[in-house]
């Protein structure tokens, strides 16, 4: 899933200054799971903004709130319906994709990002999320024992550990395991160390042109476009 963190309240207050009626819009999928912008966070933020406005005595915003199932899918944005009729801005607590999906769906409506979209990862423990994939476009987990060197090694190097590793930790951060020690240990366990002995050539960055697009095979065959 996509993991994000809510922006600091001061930043959000600064962003909404030019607008009066603010719709705080949550996302029911990834942002709910990572506690950054689900229904609960929408309601907390709503209260926090109201409280801040009352305390400072500045600003005359009115706030409304709503959460859609998924902001990144136009199909779910249809559900917004009349919710956007009387608002001047949407403060989205969706990831960066959600914000852009809304901007495309509502060409005349300003949209503000309420979260900093951070990475693709997994829940490590309650309240802790770890990055696991950088969407490199050529998954090499087969060769690395299911541990991603591109994401988990600070340098994203492909042929084994650098010389900076100490006590199994990365030179960039003493609390972070060195990805290549983890890969070594796991391959050893799987009796696949030959995979580490292989030479891996430089990455092909053409696998990630910006922006990327994937078309469903079915559509490609029938020659339809998805955009």
């Amino acid at each position: 899933m996509i993991v994000a963190e809510q922006k600091p309240l001061e930043d959000i207050i600064r962003m909404i200054v030019p607008y009066e009626r603010v719709l705080i819009l949550g996302c029911g999928t990834c942002m709910t799971v990572c506690d950054a912008g689900g229904e609960r966070e929408v309601s907390f933020l709503h209260n926090a903004l109201q409280l801040a406005q009352a305390r400072s005595g500045e600003g005359a915003h009115t706030f409304s709130e709503h959460t859609v199932k998924r902001q990144c899918d136009p199909e779910f944005l249809e559900a917004l319906g009349e919710k956007t009729a009387d608002v001047d801005v949407i403060l989205s607590l969706g990831c960066g994709i959600g914000v852009q999906a809304i901007a495309e769906y509502l060409p005349d409506m300003p949209v503000l990002p309420g979260v900093n979209t951070s990475f693709m990862g997994m829940t490590k423990e309650s309240g802790v999320w770890d990055e696991r994939c950088a969407a490199c476009g050529e998954c090499r987990l087969e060769d690395t024992g299911g541990i991603c060197p591109i994401t988990r090694c600070t340098k994203g190097i492909l042929n084994g550990p650098c010389a900076g590793v100490k006590n199994g930790k990365c030179e960039a951060n003493k609390d972070m395991d060195c990805a290549w020690i983890l890969i070594y240990q796991r391959l050893e366990r799987l009796q696949q160390l030959d995979k580490m002995r292989r030479y891996y050539p430089p990455r092909n960055f053409r696998a990630i042109p910006r922006p990327r697009r994937i078309m469903s095979k079915a559509e490609t065959v029938t020659g339809e476009s998805n955009g």
Binding site: I157, C162, A163, N167, E171
Partner: protein, 300 residues
């Protein structure tokens, strides 16, 4: 025929001595010039570091040009941290055209340990891929598969970490570096001869030259600092104790003594093919170390 004086030296049976100079964060290179003049006839080659510890400085290639101008033998340190494959290749073309023919391929320290922590880390290649790339250039084609008008030919080295606490993955990488075409290795700092001996038992099966890295410690505090802050460095506690036992102000003297002791042992026991002395900011004491290790002679 050898590509460089240094390559010729590598193929001799002589005990090889290299050292390194870290360029300044300045356009005033007078100190580097001074150090080059001081060292060029006392060692077989001088490395110029490449934004060591990810701290922005005068570039390695610039320092190598100075070494050349002053009649010394330069080793161009090249990390993958700051340049993509285009920039790395073009710098190699420049180096060769200016008679800089020894290259040391390194991954490069992480951006996080340096003084530009917000910079974009490049790492388009890693140190093994850089070695391969150099060999590819030598074959007359670049990484894009295009022909070069004229091809360079280098003497290439890289590093290895014999005292890493997880040695096996480092040895796998060592093998890959040999297979990729490394001719010589300048090791990370050696602080424990027992583990270095074990490493050499392994490494001596390969036809490559190993130069043991000698880091000159200047005080117990510096040694502890390096243990905590410098990537990969693990100074043995016995050495820290040895440094801590001397009077204040005598630390560097002790550091020179320790370095000389290591060098003498390595040479007398023929543990490896030579040493690479890293004086980290104290380049002017390298001659003292050589003298203490009985390595300065009229023959050099």
């Amino acid at each position: 025929m050898a590509n460089s004086l240094f390559e010729e030296k590598l193929s001799s049976n002589d005990f090889i001595i290299t050292t390194e100079i870290g360029p300044p964060k300045s356009v005033d290179v007078s100190e580097v010039v001074h150090h080059i003049k001081l060292l060029k006839d006392k060692v077989d080659a001088i490395n110029i570091t490449d934004h060591q510890s990810s701290v922005m400085r005068f570039p390695s290639i610039g320092g190598c040009l100075l070494v050349r101008e002053l009649g010394g033998e330069p080793i161009l340190q090249m990390t993958c941290r700051d340049r993509n494959r285009l920039a790395l290749q073009s710098e190699l073309l420049l180096a060769y055209s200016r008679d800089i023919k020894n290259v040391l391929s390194l991954t490069g320290d992480s951006i996080d340990v340096g003084d530009h922590k917000d910079a974009k880390p490049v790492f388009d290649l890693d140190s093994v891929q850089l070695l391969k790339m150099i060999r590819t250039l030598e074959s007359g084609i670049d990484m894009g598969g295009n022909e070069l008008g004229a091809a360079p030919k280098f003497c290439i080295g890289t590093s290895v970490h014999p005292e890493a606490d997880f040695i096996e993955p480092q040895l796998i990488k060592f093998d890959k570096k040999v297979a990729a075409g490394a001719q010589f290795f300048q090791t990370q700092g050696i602080f424990d001869l027992a583990s270095f001996r074990r490493f050499m038992q392994y490494a001596s099966q390969f036809d490559v030259k190993i130069l043991a890295g000698i880091i000159v410690l200047s005080s117990a505090g510096m040694a502890r600092y390096m243990n905590n802050n410098v990537p990969g460095i693990i100074v043995a506690q016995s050495l820290i104790d040895e440094l801590a036992a001397v009077e204040k102000g005598k630390g560097l003297q002790k550091g020179i003594e320790i370095a000389a002791r290591f060098i003498k042992t390595i040479r007398e026991e023929k543990l490896c093919h030579g040493v690479h002395i890293m004086a980290v900011g104290n380049e002017n004491i390298v001659p003292d170390i050589l003298e203490a290790a009985e390595l300065v002679s009229s023959s050099r």
